[in-house]
Amino acid sequence: MSGIYVVLEDRSGRIGRISWEALAAANILAAQPGTKPNTIVIGAQTEALAKEAAAKGVAKVIRIEHPLLAQYTSDGFTGALDQFIRAESPDFIVFPHSYQVRDYVPALAARLGRVLVGDVTAISDGPVFTRSLMQGRLSGNYKSAGSGPTFISVQSGAFRADADESSVGAAQIITFTPTIDAAQIRTKPSEPFRGAAQTVDLGSAQLIVAVGRGIKEADNLPLVQDLATALGAEIAASRPICDNGWLPIERQVGSSGQTVAPKLYLAVGISGAIQHLVGMKGAQCIVAINKDAEAPIFEVADYGIVGDLFEVVPALTEAVKAARQ
């Protein structure tokens, strides 16, 4: 048994929230053997990240350091972690389910003849890992098989990051130096950039009416726009609406769009895929209008109307207008 390792992700010089959620998941895994998880930070200068991790009540912090790891590349990260895993033979390696993890961990696992159980939402005895299937309409329970490490990645928002365990004291910090040759890194990433200039700030909107593919055509959008106007709300959308160019991308809510936390989020014809939910779950009150009673959006909604939006939305606009008079 050589334990559980959590790979923490650098977000502009600090460890991001979803990495702490991954640590929370690792703590659940660790509770059975009664051990503490270890953490891993990767980069070219990981001292500050390691210090941040060491204060979290973990057993050890491993700094995987190399000048060629300054910037994330799949080749660099896969190679470095592969060497560490072969040296250390961990039982479990836990990752946050970030875009970065999606980009390299499947390759890392495959290099070791293993597979990533991705986007895990719950862990129960066994261990059994639960993840969504069919865009959140069903759940699947997975078990690891064969020998070798088990790789899991943890869905954003599924595990509550422990408030603060800084009282537990500082963990031991160890440095691991992988052998990497510049020629092994085949991709050349450039500096990240923002898309279109952000002219609407959905993040501070108090009321949001969001529209999804249930609206069917761009020509039907005024229906929801009228409701938003009646409520004095900002209009937002799920990804397909922006993909189609029906609304600008700056109005997209979700993992690749904006994160919002309004008093009211009214979701019209939105199924509630996880990538959408992560952007709006923080709303104080969620109302969903959907014709499918089993749409996953109803799992997070406070109020739901099961019905055809083409009937419900105009009726709602009228009722709001009447109430406002």
Partner: protein, 256 residues
């Protein structure tokens, strides 16, 4: 450029999915199947690259007999020929098992570029392209919205979280996983549908592609998701429900 596009047939988005008797998959009898959404974007990107640079677009799909209809749809949109890996237990294979089949099937093709969708709408592993790249020893990039051919290879636009993007240069041959929204999808024309019937569809049995590895992850059981919140469903006609909701928004949520 010789481009291979991996395409999966998945249950249609609005299909009512029910767990089957085994508890390990869904009842397939009365549901419609369609081309996986991000795979349709991968196909579109491939067709546009071919239009600009010439070459060939080859569709690759693993699945049971019925997947043939989705393959024909891709051919009708303009792909040149197709390879189908015939496999009936794809749902029980893990992401590595599925990618192994696809990688084995394209090995002799030696393509310049392999495109896959980002994630399937059914099992949602989101790993096929990345694992294929690893198995074939090729560089890769995922979450790609735009592909530009350069003198030395490709420059691709990759989506990052929260509205950020990044350009990446990589040499060919390579594997890209395509995200939705980068292009506008085309429809198949009548002419295309006619032509598709005459295009080559080569079938390969999964068993002929080498031994299947024992799975590293096993889907043991499918269940209904656990509710996180207790949603108050507002009953009545559209008008009644709207009136009740406005009352709630006024007096309970206090936003009107």
């Amino acid at each position: 450029m010789k481009i291979i596009v991996a395409i999966k047939q998945v249950p249609e988005r609005d299909a009512q999915v029910r767990i089957d008797g085994s508890g390990k998959w869904i009842q397939e009898a009365d549901i419609q199947f369609a081309m996986n959404e991000s795979d349709a974007y991968a196909l579109e990107e491939a067709l546009q690259l071919k239009e600009k640079h010439g070459g060939e677009v080859v569709v690759l799909s693993a699945g049971p007999e019925r997947a043939g209809t989705t393959i024909r749809e891709a051919l009708a949109k303009g792909a040149d020929r197709a390879i189908q890996v015939e496999v009936d237990d794809l749902n029980q294979r893990d992401a590595l098992g599925a990618a192994q089949l696809l990688a084995a099937a394209v090995k002799q093709e030696s393509p310049d570029l392999i495109l896959t969708g980002l994630q399937s709408d059914d099992l949602g592993y989101g790993q096929t392209g990345v694992i294929m790249a690893e198995l074939l020893g090729l560089p890769h990039a995922s979450l790609i919205l735009h592909v530009e051919k350069t003198d030395t290879g490709l420059t691709v636009k990759r989506e990052l979280e929260e509205g950020w993007f990044q350009n990446i240069d990589l040499p060919l041959p390579a594997v890209l996983m395509i995200q939705s929204g980068g292009n506008k999808l085309r429809y198949a024309t009548l002419m295309g549908i006619k032509k598709a019937k005459t295009k080559e569809l080569r079938k390969v049995a999964a068993a002929d592609l080498g031994h299947a590895n024992a799975p590293a992850a096993v889907l043991e059981k499918i269940t209904l998701p656990q509710k996180q919140k207790s949603t108050q469903i507002i009953p009545g006609s559209a008008k009644e429900a709207a009136a009740t909701l406005v009352e709630k928004l006024k007096f309970e949520v206090r936003v009107i």
